[in-house]
């Protein structure tokens, strides 16, 4: 007999999800970001960990496919750069020397790194054939490091921090929400008051106050953990409220009643009957909260009270843009913002996709 194991709920939802364009697009976007972050060194022609004082604040390299005689070449290339000074403003600017072409090569082996901090490798997706020539996709920062490479690397911290923060908020929040919705009565009343106090706190000012507390000499990893804690502190209330509503909507339905009638313990009812029915809701809330975390972390790191050296995040990379002179001369410092937008859009799309897949009432 075929088809004896019918689709699980998860299978059905996943099938639905694949039908939603934003959902699938978001999935693809997030996968790209995750691959870029995990394999950051592979995608970096330059070593993001090393300072290079020869190449401070170099603008992004111009990549060409057509040369000055309008010949098309499949292999993209770059012209050699000549530094010149503007005699009036003493600003450095760069001109291209059209006589010297430098090709971009793929899958070359140059500087060494360790994949997953374990496997040594030196393979890179693309590099410039002449390694003495500065080659920066998105320019270089004030220590001469490649912005593109650093941005890919920063993805690790920014993404992990937000996801972990959301994970812990949702963990606590869903637990509290289920207790509140299932037991009702006094328990619910007390929990609701506590949630009220927490939601009345202004989030961003509070985060600033808490983050500014972190002593500057603290280890960057500890700072990372504390940031997660700070975000969780206020983040759990949203999940708690949502889950409470969901639980209350089916706590009085018959399948819960029948579990009670059978004599199932409260713990069993919560874990086997209530939790699975909330799971889709929990996942939707999580994916839609991650973007907020990314944005908030970016701001806190930007003003200097978030992620610290030697870790790097997208917001942290833009810290130097705080001064308008720096920003004015070196606009490419802001490029990590595209990564942020990409990530936020990705999570929002995926979240919408899941929500539509789970909710049977949306008309497609």
């Amino acid at each position: 007999m075929s088809d004896l194991n019918q689709q699980t709920h998860f299978g059905l939802v996943f099938e639905n999800f694949l039908k939603s364009i934003p959902g699938v697009t978001g999935m693809i976007m997030l996968s790209i970001l995750i691959i870029l972050s995990v394999f950051a060194e592979f995608f970096s022609p330059n070593n993001p960990y090393k300072n290079n004082y020869d190449h401070i604040y170099i603008p992004p390299s111009k990549i060409h496919f057509l040369d000055e005689n309008n010949n098309f070449s499949f292999r993209p290339f770059v012209y050699k750069r000549i530094e010149e000074y503007d005699l009036e403003t003493f600003e450095t600017f760069y001109k291209e020397d059209f006589s010297q072409k430098k090709n971009i090569r793929f899958f070359e082996r140059t500087w060494e790194y360790k994949l997953f901090n374990l496997i040594p490798s030196n393979l890179h997706l693309f590099t410039l054939e002449d390694s003495s020539e500065p080659f920066f996709l998105l320019g270089s920062d004030k220590l001469g490091r490649d912005v593109w490479s650093r941005a890919c690397l920063s993805g690790r911290i920014s993404l992990t921090l937000s996801m972990l923060a959301v994970l812990s908020s949702v963990f606590i929040g869903s637990f509290v929400g289920i207790l509140s919705g299932f037991y009702g009565g006094l328990t619910d009343w007390i929990i609701q008051r506590i949630v009220e106090i927490f939601t009345a706190l202004p989030a961003l000012p509070l985060w600033i106050a808490l983050a500014a507390l972190i002593p500057p000499y603290m280890d960057s990893f500890d700072v990372f953990m504390i940031m997660i804690f700070i975000f969780t502190l206020l983040g759990w209330t949203l999940t708690a409220r949502e889950i409470r509503g969901k639980v209350m909507s089916f706590a009085k339905t018959d399948f819960i009643n029948s579990a009670k009638e059978i004599g199932a313990s409260d713990l069993r009812i919560i874990f086997i009957h209530i939790y699975p029915n909330c799971m889709s809701h929990i996942i939707v809330v999580s994916t839609l909260t991650i973007p907020q975390m990314i944005l908030s972390e970016a701001f806190l790191s930007f003003i200097g009270i978030g992620i610290q050296e030697p870790m790097t995040s997208w917001g942290f990379m833009m810290k130097n843009a705080q001064s308008i002179e720096t920003l004015g001369s070196h606009l490419w410092i802001l490029s990590p913002v595209f990564f942020i937008i990409f990530a936020v859009l990705g999570f929002n799309f995926v979240g919408d996709g899941i929500r539509d897949a789970v909710d049977p009432y949306t008309v497609r």
């Binding site: 004896l4 194991n5 699980t8 709920h9 009643n257 059978i262 199932a264 029915n277």
Partner: protein, 339 residues
């Protein structure tokens, strides 16, 4: 006849309004002093209109709700057990003997669990069986309720309404209870499926030697299935007796009205039912006199003042709560159609 379940003076009130300090000011009286016995191997049909308290009564009997006063005891091997007085292990030990079947087959099954886990739930809660024993027991029970055990890994949404109700039966019967409280088991199903499920109930009763309380608002269904019928109105049982007596010789005006309202197919006559006029009393206040007096066609002064006693002056098993002893054949097309 051996009594398997006895309900004595059962009251159930729900807090309706609490004042500022949390003390309840008003109660909703759902069940107002119910007495009856359930005999071994019989089906007692409990019939009444929506909101009369029959579901609440059912829930209190299976200990989903605690009674406000009074009790219900079940008779297990000569011992009288009051489930509401037990807790923990002892409660679970005796709870297996009385099971409830819920009304809506669409909401009474957890949509996230495969049917096998749904049916095996009582086994998980009460005993520790291993995987093979569970599969075996689930297969066994599925066959008995008319389901193919090969489908036990499927989810509720792939079954039809009638099949889901069978799943609910399987869950209720897997531990071989002695008493089953079925709360409107066929009300949510199509008429053609209703017939199947009713036949299933009769068959299961024989096979499992069950005693069943069959709650319904549909008198024609209750007529098919019951041995005895109890009529409930506004939280009280107003008449109870053997099926034939109730149908052929109703003594309470409310029973008469119910009987007259059953639509008869292929009847050329118009529906000549007794139309009840008058206001329902408020469920929040204590009722003076007969609970039906405000809508009864035969009510007199005494009805409003004195609560009628439960008489059985006609036949030993036939009780009714009315001050008068009347021949209520009145407008009774149901009766005529079934003569």
């Amino acid at each position: 006849m051996e009594t398997v379940l006895e309900v004595t003076n059962l009251y159930k009130k729900f807090p309706y309004k609490t004042n500022f300090f949390g003390k309840t000011e008003k109660y909703l009286n759902a069940v107002n002093g119910v007495n009856f016995k359930l005999h071994k191997n019989e089906i007692l049909g409990l019939v009444g209109e929506s909101g009369c308290g029959k579901s609440t009564l059912g829930k209190t009997i299976v200990s989903l709700e605690k009674p406000s006063s009074g009790n219900s005891t079940i008779n297990i091997d000569g011992e009288k057990i009051d489930l509401n007085n037990l807790d923990g292990k002892k409660f679970r030990k005796y709870k297996r003997y009385i099971r409830m079947l819920f009304q809506d087959p669409f909401t009474s099954l957890n949509p996230r669990l495969p049917v096998k886990d749904i049916i095996a739930e009582p086994l998980h809660v009460h005993y520790n069986y291993n995987k093979y024993q569970i599969t075996e027991k689930v297969s066994e029970i599925m066959l008995k309720v008319g389901l193919d055990p090969n489908y036990m890994k499927r989810y509720p949404h792939s079954f039809s309404g009638g099949q889901r109700q069978r799943i609910a039966f399987a869950r209720a019967l897997i531990m071989y209870p002695k008493i089953l409280v079925a709360d409107e088991p066929v009300s949510a199903l199509d008429v053609s499926i209703q017939a199947q499920i009713i036949n299933l109930i009769l068959q299961l009763k024989k096979e499992f030697q069950l005693s069943i309380i069959f709650i319904s608002h549909d008198l024609s269904v209750v007529d098919l299935v019951s041995d005895r019928i109890a009529v409930m109105y506004f939280g009280e049982i107003v008449e109870i007796g053997d099926k034939k007596d109730i149908i052929n010789n109703p003594k309470h005006p409310y029973t008469e009205a119910l009987l007259s309202a059953v639509p008869i197919p292929n009847n050329n006559n118009e529906l000549n039912n007794i139309k009840l006029t008058g206001e329902l009393p408020s469920p929040l206040e204590k009722i003076t006199g007969c609970v039906f007096s405000s809508r009864c066609a035969y009510s007199q002064e005494i009805c409003k003042k004195k609560i009628p006693e439960f008489n059985n002056n006609i036949k030993k098993n036939h009780f009714y709560a009315c001050h008068f002893d009347q021949n209520l054949k009145g407008i009774n097309s149901y009766l005529e159609a079934n003569d």
